[in-house]
């Protein structure tokens, strides 16, 4: 490992996941989408489902999922990914089906679709990325925007009297009988990344074992729209975001209802 080249590599300790396409992403510096994509790709590899997967892309920064994850992908209208995924899974129950959605997509315009997909116990997996803002459209208030947080549409800070409260989707969906697994994770430290990957593995296993709906909510950064340096953005996730959106597993079904 020395720069003099004396150490020879005998065994790779880290490689690009097979399911992650070898291209530069369009994501901003300090954005967590790249890390989350990698975790998803690693889990696809781990369970050997790459050639058996259909991903559903959402509207927003994550729409380019199909450029980065090397699986078949269908693009859904804004918020509708869980309904599209339902249509895919019902037509091909033997396939591995996942959506990848942001907070505007899943927790605002798409609340109906995700709640009913969960409530039906659709046997699919949702990767939900919560960065408390609309990234692609330029940093407007999201349903997950924290109280007091300034965005381009809450220039004086989010006020619960006019804008309501940040919505806690992992907890909300955990309350539904059809949900097999619901967890909230973060990827701001190496330890968190390991835990996040374990949660995605659990969510994938739920689907592979036919247990029903699984969701992993990621607390994620948006340094560009937060107006923060990447390192400060990590601090925000570890600080006020994690305080309002506690990390943890909110639901873990041990056995399928119909077993």
């Amino acid at each position: 490992m020395s720069i003099e080249g004396k150490t020879e590599f005998t065994k790779p300790v880290y490689t690009r996941p097979r399911s992650l396409v070898d291209v530069k992403t369009h994501f901003c510096p300090g954005c967590h989408h790249g890390t989350i994509h990698k975790i998803v790709a690693e889990c696809i590899d781990r369970y050997g489902v790459r050639e058996n997967s259909i991903g559903v892309a959402c509207v927003g920064c994550a729409v380019f999922l199909y450029d980065y994850i090397d699986v078949d992908v269908v693009e859904a209208p804004h918020g509708r990914a869980p309904a599209v995924a339902t249509g895919v899974k019902r037509a091909q129950p033997d396939k591995f089906v996942f959506t990848y959605q942001g907070d505007g997509d899943l927790a605002a315009i798409g609340t109906s679709e995700v709640i009913h997909a969960a409530n039906r116990g659709e046997n699919l997996t949702v990767v939900f990325v919560n960065n408390t803002t609309y990234g692609m459209t330029g940093g407007q208030m999201a349903p997950t925007t924290l109280l007091g947080q300034k965005t381009s549409t809450t220039p004086y800070g989010r006020d619960f009297r006019s804008d309501g409260y940040p919505i806690k989707m992992a907890e909300l969906l955990a309350g539904l009988d059809g949900t097999a697994y619901s967890a909230r994770v973060a990827v701001s430290t190496p330890a968190q990344i390991r835990k996040a990957k374990a949660a995605v593995r659990k969510a994938f296993e739920m689907q592979i074992n036919g247990m029903g709906f699984s969701i992993v909510e990621f607390l994620s950064t948006c340094p560009t729209n937060w107006g923060m340096k990447p390192l400060d953005a990590q601090g925000r996730v570890l600080g006020e975001m994690s305080e309002y959106f506690p990390l943890g597993v909110y639901k873990e079904r041990k056995q399928a209802d119909f077993a």
């Binding site: 699986v71 078949d72 992908v73 509708r80």
Partner: protein, 359 residues
């Protein structure tokens, strides 16, 4: 084969909405998603009862918005899929239909239309003509639109709708109404010609043994969206050239030509037969495809008759396409009956008046 389909191998009395289900099942549709709305509930109820036994999927969605996106997902999987609804529900599906047209996904959408705008009423109407034939959602596209006027046609045109949707990779609409959906007529199940079934190499089935595939409507790079729009336009032009269908009814020697579709055409047939008995030379051109509209047929017809009488169960929508098809606008007359079925007597009176006017 379902019990109803087995019975239908001989002539039976059948409701229009049920004929759509038999046509869909005969054409290999095994996936149905929908949401309740009057006057089309016979369709989801039939599918709920029969699709599971055929190894298919029936799912009652939380909304028509979700419905059309489930349709999108199943269509992207390469499977034949159908939904049905009525005006307000079809409006909610327009977002998804735009995405499906953009993503080039086939499906069959049944509109057993009712009165509008808004909640309107449950009376039969042809007020959804514009929405169906002009695209309906954002962005510029067309839907293939078929207009059955009998229970038998509810069956045959549903089978045709699946074939056309697959052939051109775009959604096809059955535009019916409360009358043609709810009425019962003698019906005979004709066999489905599966030779017309299109291959779907674009379907998302997992990337085993091939490169990954995408189904999408977003085109951001360079002028890709312009190129895509021209490609879609070319497809719609091919549809215009090759798929126009219309029925000529008693047009030999006609000096008055009715142009009507669906239930309005059905009622007109009675009135035309009565008028013929009175010696009035009247016939009808009945568009079976509303998109593509039989423009050439209307153009030729208008040159040979004194009056083109457009009859619709609305205040005048298809009449605009008739006007666009011929420069002879002073020959075009209109009889509209919004949100109700015109009676044969009303139509006969108008035909008589037109015959008298021309002396």
């Amino acid at each position: 084969m379902s019990s109803l389909a087995a019975e239908a191998s001989k002539k039976i009395l059948l409701k229009g909405n049920e004929a759509i289900c038999l046509g869909a099942i005969a054409a290999g549709c095994r996936h149905y998603y929908g949401y309740p709305i009057t006057p089309q509930n016979d369709i989801p109820e039939y599918m709920a009862a029969h699709l599971p036994a055929l190894g298919g999927t029936f799912l009652q969605a939380e909304s028509e918005v979700a419905t059309i996106n489930m349709i999108l997902g199943t269509s992207a999987s390469g499977k034949r899929v159908m939904t049905s609804s009525s005006g307000p529900g079809i409006s909610l599906m327009q977002e998804g239909l735009s995405y499906m047209a953009g993503s080039e996904l086939p499906a069959v959408i049944v509109n057993i239309s009712r009165s509008g705008p808004g909640l309107g009423g449950i009376a039969p109407s042809q007020g959804d003509y514009f929405q169906a034939v002009k695209g309906g959602g954002h962005g510029g596209y067309r839907l293939i639109v078929l207009a059955p006027h009998s229970v038998q046609e509810m069956y045959t045109l549903t089978m045709l709708a699946f074939d056309l949707a697959d052939r051109y990779r775009t959604p096809a609409v059955i535009l019916g109404d409360a009358i043609v959906g709810q009425m019962k007529e003698p019906f005979e199940a004709t066999p489905y010609d599966s030779a017309a079934t299109a291959e779907k190499p674009w379907a998302l089935t997992g990337c085993a043994g091939r490169e990954r595939l995408h189904v999408k409507s977003l085109h951001l790079k360079d002028n890709a969206i312009e190129v895509h729009n021209w490609k879609l336009h070319g497809k719609f032009e091919r549809i215009r050239k090759t798929e126009t269908r219309a029925e000529s009814f008693l047009l030999d020697g006609a000096k008055i030509a009715v142009v009507a579709f669906g239930t309005a055409a059905r009622v007109s047939k009675t009135a035309i037969q009565w008028a013929r008995k009175e010696g009035i030379p009247v016939g009808m051109l009945r568009p079976i495809t509303l998109f593509p509209f039989p423009e050439r047929e209307v153009f030729d017809l208008a040159k040979t008759v004194d009056v083109v009488l457009v009859i619709e169960m609305n205040t005048g929508q298809m009449v605009e396409d008739v006007r666009q098809s011929t420069p002879l606008h002073d020959r075009i007359a209109f009889l509209g009956k919004p949100c109700a079925m015109p009676t044969p007597e009303e139509i006969l009176d108008r035909i008589r008046a037109l015959a008298g006017r021309k002396g």
